[in-house]
Symmetry: C2
Subunit: 240 residues, 2 copies
Amino acid sequence: MRADPAETTRGIRLQPLALSPTLKDHIHDALRTAIMAMDIYAEGADLRLDERDLAAQLGVSRTPLREALARLQADGFVDIVPRRGVFVRRKSLSEVLEMVILWAALESMAARLATERASDADLRALRDFAQRAGAGAGLADYSDANIAFHQRILALSHCTLLARTADDMFVHMHAVRRRAMGEGDRLHRSRTEHLEIVDALQARDAARAERLVREHTLRLHDHIRHSWPDPDRQPTHKGA
Amino acid sequence: MRADPAETTRGIRLQPLALSPTLKDHIHDALRTAIMAMDIYAEGADLRLDERDLAAQLGVSRTPLREALARLQADGFVDIVPRRGVFVRRKSLSEVLEMVILWAALESMAARLATERASDADLRALRDFAQRAGAGAGLADYSDANIAFHQRILALSHCTLLARTADDMFVHMHAVRRRAMGEGDRLHRSRTEHLEIVDALQARDAARAERLVREHTLRLHDHIRHSWPDPDRQPTHKGA
DNA sequence: GACAGGTATCTGGTATACCAGATACCAAGC
DNA sequence: GCTTGGTATCTGGTATACCAGATACCTGTC
């Protein structure tokens, strides 16, 4: 047992600077961000990612890049086809709908937990947030605020696994939202429903909170199903 | 546009034999299986995995092995610490409890969907299965049959994302069950509750099915919380 | 004898070279 | 002119070599 260095040092005290030193992680983040920024649903979008090209752009070798790509594949962002290429994966309508169902499952449970675990102060803050939201107007603003509201509920469940699982899914939704969400009508109703959810949470009514969250999210499910632009276009790697 | 090869071939018709040719996938499976077989909660268990050693054992180079390890890290099975080593990750009590909560969230939603989507024949088969279960006696048999029952419900939701997410979690639970599950008492009550769940599904009662599944799974949650052997042992890589 | 500093060595991180399957193009034969 | 087989080339898959941080051990000094 060695004495802790901090105890033997006299006049200076430093943080352990825990930035991830591995390229793999940085590359993973960079690629995920880049993919989210791509308009992968555009007509002639090239979904192809060239390993050597990416490595050259990032200034790294292929090895850490490939580990990042492997992780993106596990995350469901890309398909890696041996001797064919790496392709950004487009979500089909059914996949998006399933994500929303997953979302509803996670968040309705989170709402249930939040009625037991969230503090009164947290719920008041949530109410404030829900009332302020939507003031920004723009669609992107609305979408961001909307997701932020739901993430707050997830956080109030104090179940990090629920929140993390939902976060992974929100990232996927982000790429889709410009394609699937677009009605201004939903904005106002959404805000009303958010406030009703907060009502249920503050009333500590687990069953009602769960139900309202579920119904709210499943309404998005139906909305997407009906407004999905090009029905049943299941993208492949080929071309058509 | 080239004609489909199958149309031009006359007398013979072959399956496209789609076995994954990549070592990475095989290694990933092999390691996951090996980790699940390990008794990672034993006292002096060496959680250390040596890349070079594993590569030698598997007869492959480090490169595909590392990609598999990166994926296992993303899956939450191992921690990779730069210049320190790869360590099998032990789940803490709170992590296990959160997994059970996630499970409850997923499966209660699945039950709800199943009341709408499952066929009568499927539900009859599920009832048969629930009635046969437990006959095998052994704890491992019970645990396997128990998980199989729940996986069937997930499958009946016809939401593959729900089922897949739950599957990932069941794999983690597998490593834990010998440590957390062990009461024979729960066996009989469990079987009764399973049959009640099937009742609700066959009655197409979404609310009741959802509630029964949730309560059933959260009972396991409480059971684990109370029977967890060594409270609050948060394993680290060091030693203690 | 206890401790600081040096150093051998072990580990994962990265870069590079080479391999093999898959395509697409092209030319020879029908 | 169409088909068919060969082949150049592109792509990811794999193996290997080397790099740098982290440990643990050893040794010289106080």
